[in-house]
């Protein structure tokens, strides 16, 4: 039993102010405000993309236009209309106009900025065994560990780079899980996506290290539209982690990302997220609108896709990391902690679509609501007629802290096969008084007692995270809970 090592990002904190809110003074290269076909062309041109990529973007953009600014309305979230013409669709640090070839080429200011975030780009200062791709605003600024990965054949680079260096893979898989017609934000993203990570793990390779992308929105009034594509070829394994922060801004920032995962036969992808975008201030001003489409296709037989998310940030979160269980015996998992405080709103959950035989899915979702925040779990389990012997187990638990917040659970269970077995369970309550008293009777103060119980409530999810991040998640929880009790 040893003390867990805690990464420094969340330490030295005295109150519940957002701790990642400093902004960097980095000169950036920005496209003019607003969205038009010209902007789409400009983004494509800036990235030096081939014609086929531009065409795909334009198709998506034209489809998006047909949606006539009709954002999805069914989620349990409330926000004023977004003016899609009043934001920047492209901003990149100027110094990365010529992509860095090695760590030495990375602008020292950017390196300093990421050091401040606790995201080490210099390999000597790295998190042990984690390769990091950092995306500042829309551009990927550096990828560490490249050499080691190249030796085993793992491709880990920015999507814009992959478009040039691995066009066949990108052409084959981009949009194959989340087509641009999928939803409003997915269409928008396909038109204007700027960067994101690309991972390809060749057959039979077990990726030797954790891969990580660190996202940050820095520029004012900038939308961030990253696009991530991960392909695990037959019999391979990869664990990928993303972390997100944004500076404190009085105005809202839009983040509309798309993540596509593809697992072929016997492959496994483990995708973990620590989402700590700026949630807005205590009065609900500012904060990130996090409208994200994440979906994995467990395409091959015996494939497995596992999503783990710890969502503590964003003014609004709208995301449903999903798995389409196509391959026979494929497995989908969703483990989630969503904490909302002050005026945050989250409508998050998953979809598990069972198509293959003997497919199995597990959903464990823990929601915590405090302040005046609203938290909704929304999840769909669909068992198609072809999914003989499909199994699903779902457990959703919600905790309420204070009487001004809300906790909501909205499952959709659709079963079309008589050999399926599915079970959904949900509970909602506040922290149990008898548990609190028990801890207090052992000398533990009320705030610590609350934290211990809530941390215990989330422990099953945290332990799905890679070790360093489990400790960080626990720390994030603590920081975001401060001042909510007592």
């Amino acid at each position: 039993m040893t003390e867990q090592r805690v990464i420094s990002r969340a330490t030295g904190v005295e109150d519940n102010e957002y701790k990642w809110g400093f902004d960097f003074d980095i000169e950036s290269d920005k496209a003019p405000k607003g969205l038009s076909e010209d902007i789409v062309r400009l983004i494509s041109q800036k990235k030096g993309e081939p014609e086929w990529m531009l065409e795909w973007r334009l198709k998506a953009y034209k489809y998006w236009l047909t949606l006539d600014n009709e954002e999805p309305k069914w989620a349990n979230i409330d926000y004023p209309p977004i003016d899609f013409q009043d934001m920047y669709y492209y901003a990149a640090p100027k110094s990365s106009a010529e992509a860095p070839q090695s760590m030495d080429d990375v602008d020292p200011e950017i390196r300093e900025a990421f050091n401040k975030l606790g995201i080490p780009l210099i390999e000597q200062q790295r998190l042990s065994g984690v390769a990091v791709d950092a995306v500042l605003d829309s551009a990927s600024v550096a990828t560490t560990y490249r050499k080691m990965l190249e030796e085993v054949g793992v491709i880990f680079c920015s999507v814009s780079e992959a478009v040039k260096t691995h066009p066949d893979l990108v052409k084959k898989y981009l949009g194959s899980v989340v087509p641009y017609t999928d939803n409003f934000f997915a269409a928008l993203n396909a038109g204007v996506f700027s960067d994101g990570s690309f991972v390809y793990v060749p057959p039979g390779v077990r990726c030797p290290i954790e891969l990580m992308t660190y996202f940050r929105i820095n520029e004012l009034n900038t939308g961030q539209f990253e696009r991530t594509l991960i392909i695990a070829d037959k019999g391979s394994y990869v664990s990928y982690l993303e972390g997100c922060t944004a500076p404190m801004r009085k105005t809202h920032q839009l983040h509309a990302a798309v993540v596509e995962l593809i697992a072929l036969d016997d492959a496994e992808i483990k995708y973990s997220t620590l989402q700590n975008w700026f949630p807005g201030d205590k009065e609900g001003n500012g904060g990130v609108y996090n409208f994200v489409t994440k979906r994995g296709a467990a395409r091959g037989k015996n494939s497995k896709i596992s999503w783990t998310q710890v969502e503590t940030g964003s003014a609004i979160t709208w995301k449903y990391p999903s798995v389409i269980l196509q391959g026979d015996n494929s497995v989908g998992e969703f483990y989630s902690v969503a904490l909302v405080n002050n005026y945050q709103q989250a409508d998050t959950g998953t979809k598990m679509i069972h198509i293959g035989k003997n497919t199995k899915s597990t959903i464990i979702a823990k929601g915590i609501s405090a302040g005046k925040a609203q938290n909704t779990y929304r999840g769909q389990v669909k068992i198609m007629p072809s999914a003989t012997n499909a199994r699903n187990f779902t457990q959703c638990d919600s905790l309420l802290i204070g009487d001004k917040c809300g906790a909501h659970t909205v499952p959709y269970i659709e079963v079309r096969n008589p050999t399926a077995q599915m079970a959904h369970e949900a509970t909602t309550s506040k922290v149990d008084d008898s548990q609190l008293f028990y801890l207090q009777q052992r000398g533990i103060g009320l705030e610590d007692a609350n934290y211990m119980i809530i941390n215990g409530f989330c422990r099953g999810i945290f332990k799905e995270l890679p070790f360093e991040f489990a400790a960080e998640a626990s720390q994030l929880l603590r920081v975001n809970l401060e001042g909510t009790v007592g």
Partner: protein, 259 residues
């Protein structure tokens, strides 16, 4: 930390009235416990004996409607539950609470840290704490892996009670309140629990044992026995009172009270 002197009062309960949801449970209880003493509180079901133990530990559901409690000369009733614990009051729960996801080790370390800090002692290192925990664990013959599991989750009734006594040994209280710790225990578990109590018992601490049956008093010899019926202490005496109760039952005393 104040030095307790044998025979000085550690607890003085004066005319204590307690209600829960407007129902009066304790109707004027008086009790004085000195350092070095073991008091047994006996009584039929619903007499208020568990209420007494829980009120002393500060359980929030109860409302004190009258009276006073002095603990080491301090006004106990104005203290938060965690402050009472840090000042040396330990309650062994009749129904120990399960804490899903909270590992026993983390919980106990936090508890010992909080109490030691309050006493102005240095926080134990992980190594020191593990050594201490091992010692105490052995007192109640508890498995190593139980401390790795979530607090009380999936523990059998006997394991939960042994866990309570282990915690008591670990926290080294000045005043230990044992709320029906003997109930639901088989004879082996009862022996283990009682031996644990006897090992902790010293001339620097005091015990209040709440129990329905005199069985546990065969293992832990009390200095005083009090009988609580319908919210007040109707009879106090020595060890022999417990045996008399076993013989005659509680009805005998109830009838006497009625008269």
């Amino acid at each position: 930390m104040t030095q307790e002197i044998k025979n000085s009062p550690v607890l003085e309960v004066i005319d204590l009235h307690v209600s829960i949801e407007d129902k009066e449970i304790l109707k004027g209880v008086n009790l004085t416990v000195n350092i070095g003493e073991v008091h047994a509180i006996m009584g039929p079901n619903g007499s208020g004996k568990s209420t007494l133990a829980n009120v002393l530990a500060g359980r929030p559901e109860y409302t004190v409607t009258g009276g006073q409690v002095l603990y080491k000369g301090m006004d106990l009733l104005s203290m938060l539950p965690e402050l009472r614990a840090r000042e040396g009051i330990f309650l062994a729960f009749q129904y120990p609470v399960e804490l899903p996801g909270v590992r026993t080790w983390q919980f106990l370390k936090a508890s010992v840290d909080a109490i030691r800090q309050h006493r102005g002692e240095k926080v134990l290192s992980v190594r020191e704490f593990d050594k201490l925990l091992d010692e105490k664990r052995e007192i109640v013959e508890m498995d190593t892996d139980l401390v790795k599991r979530s607090v009380n989750e999936g523990f059998s009734g006997g394991e939960k009670k042994r866990n309570e006594i282990m915690q008591m040994a670990l926290l080294d209280p000045t005043l230990a309140l044992l709320d029906e710790t003997d109930s639901g225990l088989d004879i082996d578990a009862l022996r283990i629990v009682s031996e644990g109590v006897n090992k902790v018992r010293s001339d620097k601490n005091a015990f209040v044992l709440v129990t329905h049956y005199q069985r546990i008093l065969n293992y832990i010899t009390p200095d005083y026995v009090h009988v609580l019926v319908d919210g007040s202490i109707v009879r106090s005496g020595g060890r022999e009172l417990a045996l008399e109760l076993e013989d005659k039952g509680y009805e005998w005393l109830r009838d006497q009270v009625a008269v």
